[in-house]
């Protein structure tokens, strides 16, 4: 049997609950999707932007005996099918596209060149698709010829255009290869890449370009090129006499990658590699060549931090959202209390009563959770378990709280509160628990700082628990302690003549622990949003710093050759340009040994003016022959450098980096005047001018702007996701804090109305009544706002070693949190003001209640 509790009687409260729950479920279910989608995008970008040779899976095998040679395309294709069949399930969705196969010899010397020239034999399965023939004809089938009394194979090959000039090859030429096992190549044609940007060329750079190597201790370059032969040529190609490597490239499709599947992919790669070694024979070992594990490892490191921050703020958001929902449920159960008490007294069992309370709550929360969950499907992104569990958890927590609260309230059929029986002080048990929580939180924070983050351990639950414990501890301390200073204030106001401050503060100081729930909600709401704002600010600031570090000026023009003075004048004369600083960079000899360093010659004083207001800077350099050096050149006193002429410079300071030029290694900054004839190759420009204009003026140069660098850093999907989530969470928490204040006011409305009505019978005016309510709420809001503000500012410092955000800030460590207190302070202050306004509005609305009704309401409650 159910107890009738018609929803329409409590429509208002149910609507509030519905909105709160739907919003919470949408956030809890949608935000992880959005962040996960951005993680996926970031991974896809990381895979796409990496060279194919690093991201693709390449099966390579050397053949060492003629028996293992593959002499036709069919044999290659058969092997490729075999490798694809071996691919573990986790890799299959990623390896979908058609790959290519190659056979290439390496270090195949041209006979009689003394190891100076190498013409390797090569075959590409998809040469027809990737190259076009610009001279001669495509190579045909191999033949044989006599050389030094032996019959040797004669391959018809094509060479890349570049090799004609660099290696003096020409069409029709026949070159002898090998020093003991000879072969011959006839160059029948010249090719070029149809599309040099094709990712597949990353695997075959040796075919596309001539390699020049300077072996140690030699003065002349070695030249290597790899030729292309036809399918028929394979028949004569044998690993018996050459270093012959077969490769099967299985291209990775970054678009199919998902950050969630990372561990599976890593395991899949290891498994694939193991399976390949099992396929190998002694004469033809196969192995997997790929840079994927490192690529994924780097990405994973960045992802781990993003996840930590996400989970941190999401956990905070969930806790606050739940708190507000619980407050709403409390309001609902308060409103149904009388009906349930009557039903209980008239013979309702505890199950019936608790069930009725839970059912009414579920009537609002259930559809709301479903609606929020359904709306979250509109958010693009993969559904993590938390996307399903979050709404379920909200639902269970809300309904469970309703059932538990109703059951506890109506455990005994009659609840008689006697005014003459009151608890004198909090129980020892409760104080013990509270002290324990505070001690545990502080100890946890200390341990986290002492230990730092357990690197590579994936998610660190400790990192998530400590902030929660700290917030709880701060809330408990606030709740316990805030009446004390208030009582002092009350004593002061008691001496004054005005009654309202005294009454309001007294009521605030004597408020029962019922005021605890709003504190428990407001404090985490404020601390998490301030934390998010601080982190967000920290990232933004560091991103800006990183962009300045990267460029070193609003606009930097770097040329490979000297920029003529006339061009510099034209740049200066360009409308919008305010200041131009010239600089020369180069590699200089240190002393007379082989030690060298990167040098920047620039007018430091002008540069410093240029950097005025930027987050980076340089120490002043007196001029003359003084220099600033990197830490590695510290303590050398005077440096004797060779740059155009011999110059002696005195070390005047040590700097970690030269913005826009160097951030590590050996470097020095000297005045431009040191150089006898400066050849300016870098211009540092300040002003409002389009980079394209400058690029046209200095055709030999690349133009970088600080804003462009900043945009590039910000454009990273991972960074964008972190910042967007922080903003959404901050806004949501602000909203929740507001709702918490208003709801707690509504929960205590009957009680307050009775008190105010009583005071109004004694002559309290309407205005005074409003001020009384505001004064009653104000101390709690103010103290909580202050505590939350402090906690939010302190959290990044407390968690500092645990949260490494450098990957979102252009690889600079985000350490200097919150030089700017404005945003968080505005947040806290705004919230406090809005809360107080809410209190004011609430009383103003309540004015309509008649005195007698309020007094009666007070009597009944």
């Amino acid at each position: 049997m159910r107890i009738p509790l018609p929803a329409r009687v409590h429509a208002g409260t149910l609507a509030v609950l519905f909105v709160l729950t739907a919003l919470a479920c949408l956030l809890v279910s949608g935000l992880p999707r959005a962040t996960q989608a951005s993680f996926d995008r970031a991974l896809q970008r990381a895979l796409d932007s990496a060279p194919a040779v690093q991201s693709d899976l390449t099966v390579a095998g050397e053949t060492r005996s003629p028996r293992e040679d593959l002499h036709d395309r069919a044999a290659f294709e058969e092997r490729e099918r075999r490798w694809r069949a071996l691919l573990p399930a986790a890799l299959r969705p990623l390896v979908t596209g058609a790959g290519h196969m190659s056979a290439k010899t390496s270090l195949t010397p041209v006979t009689g060149t003394g190891g100076q020239t190498y013409i390797n034999l090569g075959w590409l399965s998809d040469a027809g698709r990737r190259v076009e023939w610009v001279a001669g004809r495509e190579p045909g089938a191999p033949s044989a010829m006599r050389f030094r009394g032996q019959t040797i194979p004669l391959f018809e090959v094509g060479v890349v255009e570049e090799a004609l000039g660099e290696m003096s090859l020409r069409v029709g030429q026949v070159r002898m290869l090998g020093e003991s096992d000879f072969a011959a190549v006839r160059i029948t044609g010249v090719f070029r890449a149809k599309d040099p940007t094709d990712r597949a060329w990353a695997h075959d750079q040796d075919i596309l370009h001539v390699t020049r190597l300077l072996p140690p201790g030699k003065l002349d370059f070695e030249f290597h090129t790899t030729t292309l032969m036809s399918d028929a040529g394979l028949a004569a190609l044998s690993g018996g006499a050459r270093n012959l490597t077969y490769r099967w490239v299985l291209p990775l499709d970054g678009r199919a990658a998902s950050a969630l599947a990372l561990p599976g992919v890593n395991a899949g790669i290891a498994e694939f590699s193991r399976l390949l070694t099992l396929q190998a024979t002694t004469s033809a070992p196969y192995r997997l060549e790929t840079g994927l594990p490192k690529l994924l490892g780097d990405f994973d490191a960045a992802l781990a931090t993003a996840r930590t921050v996400m989970y941190l703020v999401l956990a905070g958001l969930l806790a606050v959202a739940l708190g507000v929902i619980v407050l709403g449920v409390r309001l609902l159960t308060d409103r149904t209390d009388q009906a349930l008490a009557l039903a209980r007294a008239r013979g309702g069992s505890l199950w019936q009563v608790a069930g009725a309370g839970a059912a009414l709550t579920a009537a609002a929360i259930g559809p709301a959770a479903l609606a929020g969950y359904a709306l979250a499907w509109l958010v693009p992104g993969p559904a993590l378990p938390v996307a399903h569990l979050g709404p379920a958890f909200v639902l269970v927590a809300g309904v469970g709280f309703a059932a538990a609260r109703v059951a506890l309230a109506h455990r005994a059929p009659l609840r008689e509160r006697r005014d003459d029986v009151a608890a004198a002080r909090p129980s020892a048990r409760r104080i013990t628990v509270e002290v324990l929580v505070v001690v545990l939180a502080l100890a946890g924070a200390y341990l986290l700082r002492a230990r730092g983050l357990s690197a590579g351990a994936g998610q660190d639950p400790f990192l998530l628990l400590v902030p929660i414990a700290l917030t709880l501890a701060a809330a408990l301390v606030t709740m316990r302690c805030y009446p004390y200073p208030l009582r002092l204030l009350v004593r002061l106001t008691a001496r004054g003549r005005a009654a309202v401050p005294f009454l309001g503060l007294t009521r605030a100081a004597r408020a029962r622990a019922a005021g605890g729930l709003p504190v428990l909600i407001l404090l985490p709401a404020l601390s998490v949003s301030v934390f998010a704002a601080v982190i967000s600010d920290g990232i933004a600031g560091t991103q800006r710093l990183a962009s300045w570090q990267r460029v070193g000026a609003p606009i930097k023009i770097t040329s490979t050759v000297e920029i003529p003075a006339a061009t510099i004048d034209r740049v200066r004369a360009t409308p919008g340009v305010e200041q131009v600083v010239t600089a020369q960079t180069g590699r200089v000899q240190l002393g007379y040994a082989s030690e060298s360093a990167e040098a920047v010659a620039v007018d430091v004083a002008q540069w410093r003016r240029l950097l005025d207001g930027a987050p980076v800077g340089l120490p002043a350099l007196p001029g003359g022959t003084s220099a600033l050096v990197s830490p590695e050149l510290r303590g050398r006193g005077t440096l004797d450098i060779g740059w155009q002429s011999r110059v002696k410079v005195t070390v005047r300071g040590v700097i970690d980096s030269v913005p826009g030029f160097r951030s590590g290694g050996k470097f020095l900054v000297l005045p431009l005047s040191v150089l006898t004839r400066p050849a300016v190759n870098t211009l540092l420009v300040k002003g409002d001018v389009a980079p394209a204009v400058l690029a046209r003026l200095v055709p030999s140069a690349t133009v970088e702007t600080q804003e462009g660098a900043l945009a590039a850093i910000r454009d990273d999907p991972l960074t964008g996701a972190v910042r967007a989530t922080l903003v959404v969470v901050t806004v949501a928490l602000g909203f929740y804090a507001l709702v918490a204040v208003v709801l707690s006011l509504v929960v205590g409305a009957a009680d307050r109305a009775a008190a105010v009505s009583f005071l109004r019978t004694l002559g309290l005016s309407d205005r005074q009544a409003r001020r009384l309510t505001v004064l009653e709420v104000l101390p709690m809001v103010l103290v909580t706002a202050l505590a939350g503000f402090g906690l939010g500012l302190g959290l990044p410092a407390a968690l500092g070693p645990g949260v490494d955000l450098s990957s979102y800030a252009g690889d600079l460590p985000v350490g200097d949190y919150s030089p700017d207190l404005l945003t968080p302070a505005a947040l806290a202050a705004g919230l406090a003001v809005v809360a107080v306004l809410g209190a004011y509005a609430h009383t103003a609305l309540n004015r309509r209640r008649s005195l007698s009704a309020a007094l009666r309401a007070g009597e009944l409650s």
């Binding site: 049997m1 013979g347 019936q352 003459d420 009944l860």
Partner: protein, 310 residues
Amino acid sequence: MNPTLSELEAKATREKAAFGGDAHIVCDNLVRIYKTEGVEVVALQGLDLVIDKGELVAIVGASGSGKSTLLNVLSGLDVPTAGVARVAGMDLLSMSPKDRLRYRRSVVGFIWQQTARNLLPYLNARENVELPMKLAGAPRKERGRALELLELLGVADCADRKIPEMSGGEQQRVAIAVALANSPQLILADEPTGELDSETSEQVFEALRTANRQLGVTVVIVTHDPLVAQQVDRTVGIRDGRTSSETLRREGAEGEIVAEEYAVLDRVGRLQLPRDFMNALNMERRVRLELESDHIGVWPAREEPSDEQP
């Protein structure tokens, strides 16, 4: 003829032997203490009460004397701290929560003073009466009884009206119907006419009397209302958590109502003297008793100094 004090005493000692033997409600030395962390309030301090089946009894007393606590105990909503409380042979102290629920469902019905507290405002009268039946899991066919009850109490026309659409008297009469819904043996009413004018009070009291006479239900009314107190057969006075006096009414030879007030003598012989008697004779701290052949004389202490007298 009036019973003499000795006869009453004899009666009291007789009942002592089988205290509350077959009575409907038996309270013996009932104690209820409210306690929270060291603060205690003793609401009932050894109350004795015996009510027979089918009686219509009023309980009167000053505010804070323990009337409502007694009613809560009898209705099974509250558990006494010590003593004996038995209703219809069921011991209210040793009852399990399950038995207590069954007791509330089928043995007792009650009416609170506040009309709004008795009824769910969003249900109509019939639905309100059916609610206890549904809670008790009564079969659907028995629910026709709701209309019968409303008819019996003269509020049949209210059956389909919502509670706020009724007058206070009608609401209280519907509340009586609700209390009667599961055919209880006992109805407890806590100031049922406290918020009503005298005419409406009369109607409500009449409804209670109807329930008592026609359904044979024992009715206990806690009241301040002299109108009600004067119309019942027996009025029990409570002072400081103890029964202090009883007023019995019976019809005299000429059909007039004769009311006689008695002091209550408990099982160990304690007696509360009415306060105005004590004040009139300036009795304080100790009195002198003298046993005569047919009564006991109570005298102010002779040696008491009289200089404090005005």
